[in-house]
């Protein structure tokens, strides 16, 4: 794993150098682990204030692509730049929410301390939390509706409450590129609405957003959707890409929709052959 680039600390994009410093630019990118490719031939650009949803089954390469963006996995082939630099070189500009938090149950941590971690990249080793930092933490917790759990220990919270604390940590980062892996896992309907509103506001603030999700309704609202099934099935605006045929190809399953996009229900049919057309019933 490479450390942060030391030469150019102040690499924030000026108004003139837009193209070079886009949040994400991937050209013929292959992602995978230990030299083995899982998804190849990814060409995608994510600009500031735009969003990209990754949709696919578990094992389709979504998480691997996200890990490559944040610098946890090396590109297996092709090229990728994040703000014009190799992935992992701009830690202060990126927020990342991973799918699993194994140690959340063991740590003697209060919820507020987890959210404060969102300020660590800015603060470094010994920088003191300023009033502004404290305000940001308080704002993030209010926004995700977890301010009342502030002083409770993380392990005393439910899974959904913990997830909202993690999302508050991401908000507190004030990142220019936000990368989320299955952010709605464990959230109830109300918390999901809170999450959607909060991160729509992050887009307006200027951040770029990349989200791996199973939630077709959420994905449909994104500027770009990438359907993944160990290869790029489709990439484009949500409403064009999320066709029943493409979804069937992505999930290899039975898709039932009520009304237009936004209310797809995806039903997994492990192993069973499904007739590509016979079982798709969009307008019932």
């Amino acid at each position: 794993m490479s450390g942060p680039a030391s030469a150019t600390r102040d690499d924030r994009p000026g108004p003139s150098e837009g193209a070079a410093a886009e949040p994400i630019r991937a050209t013929d990118l292959s992602v995978g682990y230990e030299g083995r490719s899982i998804v190849a031939g990814i060409d995608v650009t994510v600009r500031p204030q735009t969003s990209l949803a990754l949709v696919g089954t578990n094992g389709s390469g979504k998480s691997t692509l996200l890990k490559t963006i944040v610098g946890l996995a090396r590109p297996v082939g092709g090229s990728m730049t994040v703000f014009g630099h190799p992935p992992g070189a701009s830690p202060r500009r990126i927020a990342y929410l991973s799918q699993f938090h194994a140690s959340g149950f063991v740590l003697p941590l209060r919820a507020v301390e987890v959210v404060r971690m969102g300020r660590y990249p800015e603060l470094g080793l010994l920088g003191r939390m300023s009033t502004e930092d404290h305000d940001l933490v308080a704002w993030a917790m209010r926004t995700m509706g977890v301010d009342r759990f502030c002083d409770q220990s993380l392990r005393s919270l439910s899974g959904g409450q913990q997830q909202r604390v993690y999302l508050a940590q991401v908000l507190a980062r004030r990142a220019e590129l936000i990368v989320l892996d299955e952010p709605t896992a464990g959230l109830d309907a109300g918390a999901r609405e809170t999450y959607l509103e909060a991160f729509a506001a992050e887009l307006i603030r200027g951040a770029a957003l990349v989200t791996a999700t199973h939630d077709i309704a959420e994905a449909a609202e994104y500027d770009q959707v990438m359907l993944l099934a160990r290869r790029v099935v489709a990439l484009g605006p949500g409403r064009e890409v999320l066709t029943p045929e493409a979804l069937l190809e992505t999930f290899g399953m039975f898709v039932r929709g009520a009304g237009h996009l936004g209310r797809f229900i995806v039903v997994e049919r492990g192993g069973r052959e499904v007739d590509p057309h016979g079982h798709i019933d969009l307008d019932d």
Partner: protein, 267 residues
């Protein structure tokens, strides 16, 4: 006796600071391996007439190198490889010691320490290392916390997960090395785990966990020394035994309170 108490308290402080991260990161097994890996180093050092601590440091470094190599190379079960590494080092240590007939007393001393025979110089060195451990832990508190929370999060936040992991291992090694003379290589592990573990059961914050650990360790040192004096038992072992008993008493009390077996307080 006062020297033994001071040594015990210094061991408690450094072990609680380092032990907190050992417990939270689930490094118990690596801590154990480090503690035992020190043995052949000490044995060789005594054999060739170098201070035991130098050998201990070399043994610990070899162990850290071995553990890191194992973790980088094997994806499946690093605990098997680490386990073999530490048993191998332990066996090597005993083999080296047993090859010389003058060593049998030394072996007991290395394994179980000599809390009552600590010299003033040992104490000074221990104090210096304890302060050093505390300073490094303070400076690295944020990356350490991120590592405990989620190593990937630490990496993405710009704190090299691998580098800080090695710093953490070096802190464990430093603690083991200066503590082995008082509580021995076998027992230092108990002081790493028991007080910090008891602290983890009680505390809601990392700092509080360390403070509880230091308190428990100090109590264990005092009570253990008192008991060993009156019962004429091995000092280091008695101290560690008390620390472990404290852990299980705290665990029991917590469980009783959690399951409301004895609900004396109504909120």
């Amino acid at each position: 006796m006062l020297r033994a108490l001071t040594a015990g308290i210094l061991v408690s402080i450094s072990c609680s600071i380092v032990g907190t991260f050992v417990v939270l990161r689930g490094l118990a097994f690596i801590g154990d391996a480090l503690a035992h890996g020190v043995l052949p180093g000490v044995a060789v050092a005594i054999l060739i007439g170098v201070p035991g601590m130098v050998g201990a440091a070399l043994g610990a470094l070899v162990m850290i190198g071995g553990v890191s190599l194992v973790q980088a190379r094997s994806r499946l079960s690093s605990d098997t490889a680490i386990g073999l590494l530490f048993v191998g080092m332990l066996a090597l240590g005993v083999v080296i010691v047993s090859s010389s007939s003058t060593f049998s007393g030394d072996l007991i001393r290395i394994l179980f320490g000599e809390l009552l025979g600590v010299s003033v110089e040992d104490l000074l060195l221990q104090a210096v290392v304890t302060v050093g451990v505390a300073v490094v832990a303070f400076v690295c508190a944020r990356p350490f916390l991120l590592l405990c929370f989620d190593p990937e999060q630490a990496q993405v936040a710009g704190f090299s997960a691998r580098a800080y992991h090695v710093v953490m291992l070096l802190l464990i090694a430093a603690t083991v090395i200066v503590s082995f003379q008082s509580v021995g290589t076998l027992l230092v592990f108990g002081m790493l785990l028991a007080p910090a573990g008891a602290g983890a059961l009680i505390a809601r914050r990392i700092g509080a966990m360390m403070a509880w650990g230091i308190a428990f360790g100090t109590i264990a040192t005092y009570v253990g020394l008192l008991l060993s004096y009156h019962l004429d038992t091995a000092a280091g072992a008695t101290v560690v035994l008390v620390a472990v008993v404290i852990f299980f008493v705290v665990l029991l009390v917590q469980n009783v309170r959690a399951h409301g077996v004895a609900p004396t307080v109504v909120a």
